[in-house]
Structure formats: C-alpha cells, structure tokens
Point group: C2
Chain length 214, copies 2
C-alpha cells in the first residue's frame, strides 16, 4: 500500500516523486486524447514507470482520471473568479483582467478547454454541480452589473449574449486553433502574437457591443 495518510517519512513536497510523475504523465495524455483513448500503458511509459505502479498509487485508471480532471477544472475557473470578485475594480477593469488572465492561462494550457468541454459533454451532471457552485457568485455579480446597466438605459445587451461573447472571443481561438490557423494561414508565432493582441482588443470589442449603433 502507498502511504497515503502522511506516515512517518517526509515526502519531498512537490518533487518529481514517482507519484507526481505518473500524475503529470496522466494529465498530459488525458488532456490531449481524452479518457477512452488513453491507455494506462501509455501513461506508464510516458512516466517511465511500471504499469503496476499506476494502480499501486491511484487504484484505478478512473480514479486517476477523476483526480486530474478535478485539478484541471479548478485551474480552468480560477482565472475568472479571482479577478471578478475584486471589489476594488470597476466593471470594465474586471473584464480586462479576466480576458488577460484567460489568455495567459490558455497560452500555457491550450488543451484545457477542449478537455473540459469534452468531459462535461460526457458527464453532464458530474461536473455540472461543482461548476455551478464555484461560479455562482460571479454570475450573480456580473448579472447584477449588466442588468442595472441595462435599466439605466446605458446598454441593452442580454447578459447571456455578453457572457457568450466574452467566453467565445477569448476561448474559441484556442479551441479552434487547428482550423483557424489552416484557414488563415498564420504561423505559430503569429498566432501567439494575435492572442496577445486580443488581450487589448476583446475588452474594446465587448464595450462596443454593449452600446450598439442602432
């Protein structure tokens, strides 16, 4: 048995311990290929360990997946909540921060959104509850701002559209990158530069959408 409940020995924190190596190998493969297409033997090979160790540390493929999934998921929503709940920022500033945080996160972890979207589709209910909990306060906050703004006559955009546009403009280029790069013919470097540009552009666009011309 692996010493789960920290027993006598000290564990070297976050080092490249076997356990950590397996988890990171699993994260790479699961995130890239999904649950069904990932073989436990591939994970073992990627981590450079014996197949049995995977089960020794994590009991089963499913358990390992759930663990990775949870961590990926938390990573994914961290960007929004942190910035959005900062009461010292104006609405516009929050949008700027969220877009920036997201572009940075997606630049580091470009496969994350597809992974999340796939898993949510596969298990509509499993993640759903968690998601709703974590995101509830932000939703409340953003809705309130938009609705009062609408009532004041300054804007006239449904919160649904605003959120769809915010996420769509920010996340989609990463999700659809393979198609997008083919269609537009941009190089990897150019793509990265465009993503950086969007940090500045998306907030401007979103603002423009809030006050449509006609």
């Amino acid at each position: 048995m692996p010493k789960t409940a920290r027993s006598k020995k000290q564990k070297p924190a976050k080092e490249s311990s076997t356990e950590e190596r397996i988890k990171e190998a699993a994260r790479r493969l699961f995130t890239l290929k999904g649950f069904a297409a990932t073989r436990t033997r591939d994970i073992a090979e990627e981590a450079g360990i014996n197949l049995a160790l995977l089960n020794y540390y994590f009991r089963s493929k499913q358990k390992l997946f759930d663990l990775v999934m949870l961590e990926n998921f938390q990573q994914f929503i961290k960007g929004i909540t942190v910035n959005f709940m900062d009461e010292t920022l104006s609405f516009d500033q929050r949008i700027e921060r969220i877009v920036e945080a997201y572009v940075d996160m997606l630049t580091r972890l470009p496969d994350l959104p597809m992974f999340i979207l796939n898993e949510i589709r596969g298990n509509p209910s499993k993640i759903a509850a968690k998601l709703q909990m974590e995101i509830a306060p932000m939703r409340q906050n953003m809705f309130t701002q938009l609705i009062t703004s609408n009532e004041a006559g300054k804007t006239n955009l449904e919160p649904f559209h605003f959120i769809a546009n915010l996420i769509g403009l920010t996340v989609f280029p990463f999700v659809g990158r393979p198609i997008l790069q083919r269609v537009t013919g941009v190089t990897d470097d150019q793509f990265q530069q465009y993503m950086q540009d969007r940090k500045r552009l998306i907030p401007v666009w979103l603002k423009a959408m809030l006050t449509p011309p006609k």
Copy 2:
C-alpha cells in the same frame, strides 16, 4: 460480400436499409462520444442489428468512422462556401448569410463542431489537407475584401481577428453550451431563442468591430 457496385437488384434509394441504419447509428454515437469511446457493439445495438453486419457492410470500425467523418465534415463546411462565393452579394450580405446558415445548421446538428474539433486535434494532418482545399477560395475572397478595405482606411482589423471573431461568436455558444447554460441559467427554449437572436446580432457586432472607436 455486400453488393457494393450496384449489381442487378435495385437498392431502395435512401430508405431505412440495414446499411443506412448502421451508418446513422454510427453517426450518432461517433459524433456524441468520439471514436475511441464508441464500441462497435453499441453501434450494432443502436442500429438493432447483429454485430457482424457492421463488418459485413463496412469492413471495419475505422472504415465506418472515416465515412461518417467525411460526411460530417462536408456538412460542416457546406454552409460557408455556398454563401460566400455568391458574387451577387455584398460583403455585408455574405456575412449575414453565413451566420444565418451556420446558426441553422448548428441548431440541427449541435454536436458537429465538437466532433470536428476533436478529430482534427487527433489527426492534425488527415483532415487538414481536405479542409485547406475546400476552404481556400473562401479564404482568398475574404482576405482580399478585408485587406482592400483596410488599405482604403475604412477599417483596421486583421483578417485573422475577423475570422476568429466570426467563428467564435457563431460556433462557440453551441460548443460551450453545457457550460454556458449552467453559468447563465437559461432554459433550453431560451437558449434556442438566443441563438436565433444572434443571427441578427452577430453581423452588427462584427461590423462594429471593423470600425473601432479609437
């Protein structure tokens, strides 16, 4: 052997022939769960046929998948090309038509984009060539329009951003629907209505983006 090359007998066109039933069952499952997660036995059950018939008609799971994949893919890009190459339409009109065609298509086949995105990610090269071919003329056309428009000083938006925004605003709500509905708390009916609204809104937004305030 199945009579592939139309032999003596007449095949009842598009009826619910066994072959067609298998293909449609396969399409549903492949599109919903992806290649790896779909079992041939599930397809057989969904189609209400014996497992061996799947191989009798389509040789292998992979062959069946490739067939479905190709048809899905053609379906997916049909909407753009048809409308975009219509020389009698203005640029603005083309955008309106594309958005409308896409929203309608995605309303009918909401799982298609995730399927395409997943498969392209899995086989970067396989589909890529086909995609590039089919889309090349449209790309040429749209780029030309945008670049001349930029040079004339009327706009100043990179074609890359324009295309990313067009696809992002149109396709993403369908891809991210599970998340989006949770976050915003809208019902299925409301979602459909919002998508219909977006046919009108997206072209307006895109136009607004082309002429940014500052």
